[in-house]
């Protein structure tokens, strides 16, 4: 029964996507939106039913594998169209469908005036379907399928406003980097098949400990390849550059895909393959360290950039860094818990940001925003709640989830203490940049747009411009129309944000150390064979960690207050004082340039070389050379054919002589 519900979880979004996509001419926009919302809600309901079914099983057999048909089977490499349901996948299903439902509801209102409404919902439903394939996959090939399909959906949605050059470029970048990640997974899957003879989760996780010894090179290679996929999808260094550009997509997309769900797939992957990573601790450490590096670097960038959505995007990278550290060091349930809470508050932050951006007529620069507290009180409130949760303010959901990871690092001691320190610094930065947004946007005298909203009661109708380039764009297809939608005025948006705000505040109660620890217990069947399953800090240590985290968060908020409210001149001074560091951060640590230098430019150079040099000289040259040789031989023959009779006779004489000499030599 559980399997059936799980299949239905997959079915509804797919059906929704197809229905909306195929009926784009027949159905009115609203109906399409409703179908989209309904499909996801239905998936959520089925997910809950699957959860109930699963919880009905005894703890040791809480996993179900189910296969529809044999997808392909050659040379022992058997691939089923199969799913694998266990607490981890159900957890992900619930997070994904839950958050998706809310974001669909939000989009229903937010995208109202967009002319590609059908397309948007079709893509969005397809994304949810793909994401569910990813989390429910029963073997590595299906995982790859889901993995790549979310990549595709992400691409489609980033390039949703496809007439913007910046959007299509960003989509391309995201897609190609994700494909590189996919290749990591291909190779991992092939290696797994080669060593274990199967790609099915069940068999692989069962046989891996028997086949591999700890840190055997094969298993390390497998895990590193898996990590390539994980890093690419989760925007971890050095594959992180696409995420900031992905903000070209509509805000609900950023909220759903590039904050709440898809980008956390890497975390899910490591958790899913924890058996393998525990056999390859080196690879797990790599994951953790990359997560740490990303969280610190992304934090510094978030402090410097001024594009509202990009700040949140870097914050996302940073938070995923935390999750990577979490699953890298063995704090699986903490990592997954942070994944969930982050989904709530980050989705909320994006929604609020979207609301503000709408009010700003698509302007995204926080330097130009001011005084929205009065103009948009509801949005302001949700923004504050999101920021508090993000910075780990005591009592908020983020406080419980983030500090659990930080604490676990400290608990593991050794070199992990350095991670602990790093993560604390990161936490401080998180608090600062979170409240940088709040303090720059909300208080103070209203800016022009905010004032307009206060005065006229509706948002300003700006020229449709590309926020990245400020070019005027045509709105005929695929752009939000002149009407903009803000949370204050749209029920759907308000509803979704309210629920998320609520969850951002209270989700922490699921995992109060020493009290309930619902998430840990729920996920226990998945991680029961893990070496870290029964290693966790004592309740006291946990609370100590929470206290530290809370203090740092408060300190960070205070610093932000100091910088942006009390002494607003200070940031400028810092900027001048440490201009090198500022430049570095504003330029995102030159990540794009580095990738360009190391990968893109060489590849393009190879292409140019092939095209302009090799093809021209070697291929065409060789062809022309042979042709020319033949032609000149022909010219020689024709030259000899001078028309001169006596020349012909001479050549004959030559021939006779040659043959005579040949035969004379033969007769010797």
């Amino acid at each position: 029964m559980t399997a059936t519900w799980a299949w239905l979880v997959l079915l509804f979004p797919l059906l929704g996507s197809l229905t909306i996509g195929l009926t784009f001419k027949a159905l009115p926009d609203r109906t399409a939106g409703l179908i989209g919302v309904a499909a996801i809600v239905a998936a959520f309901v089925c997910g809950v039913l699957a959860l109930i079914g699963l919880q009905g099983e005894p703890s040791e057999s809480r996993h179900v594998a189910s296969s529809l048909w044999e997808y392909a089977n050659v040379g022992g490499l058997k691939i089923d169209l199969g799913i694998y349901v266990d607490p981890l996948s159900i957890f992900m299903v619930l997070v994904v469908t839950g958050v998706s439902s809310l974001i669909h509801i939000y989009s229903y209102s937010y995208m109202k005036s967009d002319q590609g409404y059908h397309r948007f919902f079709s893509y969005l439903n397809f994304f949810v379907f793909s994401m569910l394939v990813l989390v429910l996959a029963g073997n590595f090939v299906m995982l790859i399928v889901g993995w790549a399909l979310v990549g595709f959906a992400s691409y489609a949605l980033i390039s949703y406003w496809y007439r913007r050059n910046t959007a299509t470029k960003a989509g391309m970048k995201a897609f190609v980097i994700n494909v590189i990640g996919d290749i990591g997974l291909y190779i991992a899957a092939i290696l797994i098949f080669k060593n274990l003879g199967s790609v099915d989760y069940g068999t692989v996780f069962e046989k891996a400990p028997e086949v591999f010894s700890t840190n055997q090179w094969e298993i390390v290679a497998i895990c590193l390849c898996l990590l390539v996929g994980a890093f690419a999808k989760s925007a971890q260094m050095p594959f992180h550059t696409w995420l900031a550009d992905a903000m070209e997509g509509p805000t609900p997309v950023s909220s759903l895909i590039h904050a709440a769900t898809m980008v956390t797939a890497g975390v899910y992957l490591i958790a899913r393959c924890h058996t393998l990573f525990e056999l390859a601790p080196t690879a797990a450490d790599v994951a953790a360290f990359v997560g740490l590096a990303t969280l610190l670097i992304a934090g510094t960038i978030a402090l410097a950039v001024t594009d509202l959505k990009r700040i949140i995007a870097y914050s996302t990278m940073s938070q995923i860094g935390y999750m990577f550290v979490g699953v890298g060091i063995g704090a699986y349930s903490a990592g997954m818990f942070h994944l969930m809470t982050h989904a709530f508050f980050k989705a909320l932050l994006f929604m609020a940001a979207g609301s503000i951006i709408s009010a700003m007529a698509n302007m995204q620069d926080i330097d130009k925003m001011k005084g929205f507290r009065k103009a948009m009180p509801f949005t302001a409130a949700t923004l504050i709640i999101g920021a508090l949760a993000l910075s780990g303010f005591p009592g908020m959901s983020g406080w419980f989830s983030k500090d659990e990871i930080i604490d676990f690092a400290h608990f593991r001691r050794g070199m992990y203490d350095w991670m602990w320190v790093g993560m604390l610094i990161g936490a401080l930065m998180t608090a600062i940049y979170s409240f940088r947004i709040i303090f720059r946007i909300l208080p103070g005298p209203a800016c022009e747009e905010a004032q307009y909203l206060i005065d006229k009661g509706h948002v300003i109708h700006g020229e449709p411009k590309n926020p990245a380039t400020n070019e005027v764009e045509d709105t005929e297809v695929g752009y939000p129309g002149e009407e903009h939608h803000i949370a204050e005025q749209a029920g759907g948006m308000k509803f979704a944000m309210a629920i998320l705000a609520f969850l951002s505040i209270v989700a922490g109660v699921l995992q109060i150390p020493g009290v309930d620890e619902v998430v840990t217990k729920f996920l226990e069947p998945t991680f029961e064979n893990s070496v870290f399953a029964h290693m966790h800090p004592s309740t006291g240590e946990a609370w100590l960690g929470l206290t530290e985290g809370g203090l740092i968060s408060i300190a960070g908020i205070a610093i932000a207050w100091l910088l942006y409210i009390k002494r607003p001149d200070l940031p400028g001074k810092f900027r001048q004082r440490f201009s090198a560091i500022h430049t570095l951060c504003v330029n995102k640590w030159y990540g794009d340039e580095l990738v360009d230098f190391l990968v893109t430019n060489p590849v393009k150079a190879v292409g140019r070389f092939c095209n302009r040099v090799f093809e021209r000289f070697a291929i065409d040259g060789a062809t022309a050379g042979v042709a020319g040789l033949t032609r000149s031989a022909g010219a020689a023959v024709r030259d000899i054919q001078s028309g001169m009779l006596r020349g012909y006779a001479l050549l004959m004489l030559f021939g006779i002589l040659a043959i005579a000499v040949y035969f004379l030599i033969r007769s010797l």
Binding site: Q641, S642, G643, L645, R646
Partner: protein
């Protein structure tokens, strides 16, 4: 007289005829040189005929003479035809066809 001498003589005549074809430009003279080459062949045939004591070669030579005569007739016919067309009688001028 050894037969070799006759053969060598015929080879020499053949060579002289060939040289004539190579160096002369008047088609009439070229035809004469062809006669030389054919008569060289005839001479060697006769020499071998004598060597073998076999008269087949002699009959062959008779045929050769006929052939030579026929070639001359057609060749001279062509020369006359060209002359009538006021074409230059110079084998080096016959270069319309080339390449």
């Amino acid at each position: 007289m050894d037969i070799e001498w006759y053969i060598v003589l015929s080879a020499l005549l053949f060579t002289v005829g060939f040289i004539g074809v190579l160096v002369r430009r008047n088609p009439v003279v070229v035809l004469l040189c062809l006669e030389l080459m054919l008569s060289a062949g005839a001479l060697s045939l006769l020499a071998f005929s004598r060597m073998l004591g076999n008269q087949d070669g002699q009959v062959f030579v008779l045929i050769v003479l006929v052939v030579a005569a026929c070639e001359v007739v057609v060749g001279l016919g062509l020369v006359v035809a060209m002359y009538r067309r006021r074409l230059p009688l110079d084998v080096d001028e016959m270069k319309e066809l080339k390449g």
